[in-house]
Amino acid sequence: MQHVSAIREPLVTGGKTLHDVTQDICYQVEAKPNIRWMAALSVALFFLGVFFYSVYRTVWYGIGEWGLNKTVDWAWDITNFVWWVGIGHAGTLISAVLLLFRQKWRSSINRAAEAMTIFAVICAAMFPVLHMGRPWLAYWVFPFQNTFGSLWVNFNSPLLWDVFAISTYFTVSLVFWYIGLIPDFASIRDRAKGTIAKFSYSMLSFGWKGSAKAWSRYETVSLILAGVSTPLVLSVHTIVSMDFATSVVPGWHTTIFPPYFVAGAIFSGFAMVLTLMLITRVVFRLEDYITLEHIALMNKIMMVTGSIVGVAYITEFFIAWYSQVEFEQYAFINRATGPYWWAYASMMTCNVISPQLVWLRRVRYSIPLTFVLSIIVNIGMWFERFVIIVTSLHRDYLPSSWAMFSPTIIDIGLYLGTLGLFFTLFLLFAKFFPVINMAEVKTILKYTVDNGPTYNPQKAAHAAHTHQPAVGAPASAPINYTKHD
């Protein structure tokens, strides 16, 4: 039996029983979509329209629709790609790394965070594929035989490693997420009333019945998938950083890149998880499952990774000076004081200074402040990638070819468009899939200290009369509960 200290904050509040969990999570799947959801979906669909228009322009007229020039030949596209991939990392961190570390609080956020991973990787993949110019030939990046493309692919290229890394990451995350969803689909299936719902969730649940043997295998599979996903998530952003680090461009050619990028990825990912969770918990009334404690814990991880990123920024500067390579030194001085100083300043403010506010308990536990902070961090991390990519390229070895980058309306449209794509997918997920892993929350329910209802006043009054567990007894225990061990 697990033992939980009495001073530990409850992971689920509101005196929930097992049935309450099913009821609360299935509610939004079974209920008619509410007006806030519809409104959000229409905004997302509008931006999805912007995305399709921008894709159409890019594919029909070519990459010339973007603001790239001869000097700055990677800009918003790769910035967005790295930004989206980075956001995805928090999902895997929550679902895999925190599982291995037995952090039980992950239970109520892992489902949505994993969904975020999958949708973020979809958005990320759009950019390299569109940058190819002929996306219908995208399969040429895979090792097909001579007659398909020219020769074999070059396995020495980090861009090719990226192909393998991102496709593995996407499919593994998808499978991990889906296996976790199966028992919850079964819960919805067994409650479903309508024929269509019954049929759809029967298909989705793969015939899950919750038998003891199936659960035993399920747990083994989850553990192994977590075990392989952990090095995988680190490898993905390592390889993304190698797209830059293995080149000879001053400002990119840095050995610190892999850990620096991984920390940055988790940093931005947690910011995005916070943004999404703060909205989801209010829209779907999940305050008892995603508590202030969860928000504070995520804030702490954001602060730690943000500080690692800050140290990395300073180390880069130090090494540029210490290396005595004048090109490297110029690249960094130009970054901070050149024409793109404003991007650098935004990056420093948003990523290094703002997360330090989390040291204050008042900020860590404040919903509005956390929300603002998470948006600021997302903006800062976008600027980080922009700074790394554009300021390193825009002044190359030949001063005659120095240039500035200005995005076209299509560049902007494509970026906003992927946001539309992301939120469309996320909203559909939140409506039709259980946003919280019910089975996993149920496992912790009995072993979480809970001093009673917090949010739902009606239930609080009700529970006060009927439900008063003895001191030290689990919250969900029946009244005549006797402790076994």
Binding site: T22, P183, S187, D190, S216, R217, Y218, V228
Partner: protein, 175 residues
């Protein structure tokens, strides 16, 4: 084929675990136990052997690694050797990322497919369950009955004595 079951419903996982132990000790064979979440200790109580899936995972991983190395060495080293940046044709350090990714890819998908196959999970339009509450908040123990269901009263008593809140008889038709 129709099977008959005595179905005991339990409210609490600890009660369930003790019931499993007592019922097995009484010499009754438990057909299966269905629960809304994985109950720790149920494997030992039911005598379920430790899954050998990790061994399968290891072999899938090794297959992926071997395949990735063979693919890269064969393609760039033998089938169509190219000079890339003056590097050796078989540049093993550069092959590590793809080899790693494919190891993970094979492990994960091999595991998932094995899991689905041995557990019998595949999309189907209708799922007959013994008790729908097993995926909600109840722990359901099924004990198979013979044609005449003569043991049912005895089993009812046994289940009740071990803390079952409800005992039902249920027929399941397997096609």
């Amino acid at each position: 084929m129709t099977k008959r079951f005595a179905v005991g419903i339990f409210e609490d996982e600890d009660v369930l675990l003790h019931a499993i132990e007592n019922i097995r000790a009484a010499g009754v064979k438990i057909y299966d136990v269905f629960s809304p979440y994985p109950v720790h200790g149920i494997d030992d109580a039911l005598g379920i052997e430790r899954s050998r899936l990790p061994i399968a995972a290891f072999f899938f991983g090794m297959t992926g690694l071997a395949f990735a190395l063979w693919m890269q060495i064969y393609m760039l080293g033998f089938d169509w050797p190219m000079i890339i940046g003056g590097k050796p044709h078989i540049a093993l350090p550069a092959f590590i990322p793809v080899a790693f990714e494919l190891t993970v890819f094979f492990t994960c998908h091999g595991m998932a497919l094995t899991f689905f196959t041995i557990t019998g999970l595949y999309p189907r339009p209708k799922v007959p369950v013994i008790d729908v509450r097993a995926t909600d908040d109840k722990f359901v123990m099924a004990i198979e009955l013979d044609e005449s269901s003569s043991q049912f009263p005895r089993l009812t008593q046994l289940l009740r004595d071990n803390g079952a809140s409800e005992v039902n008889q249920k027929e399941m038709t397997n096609k």
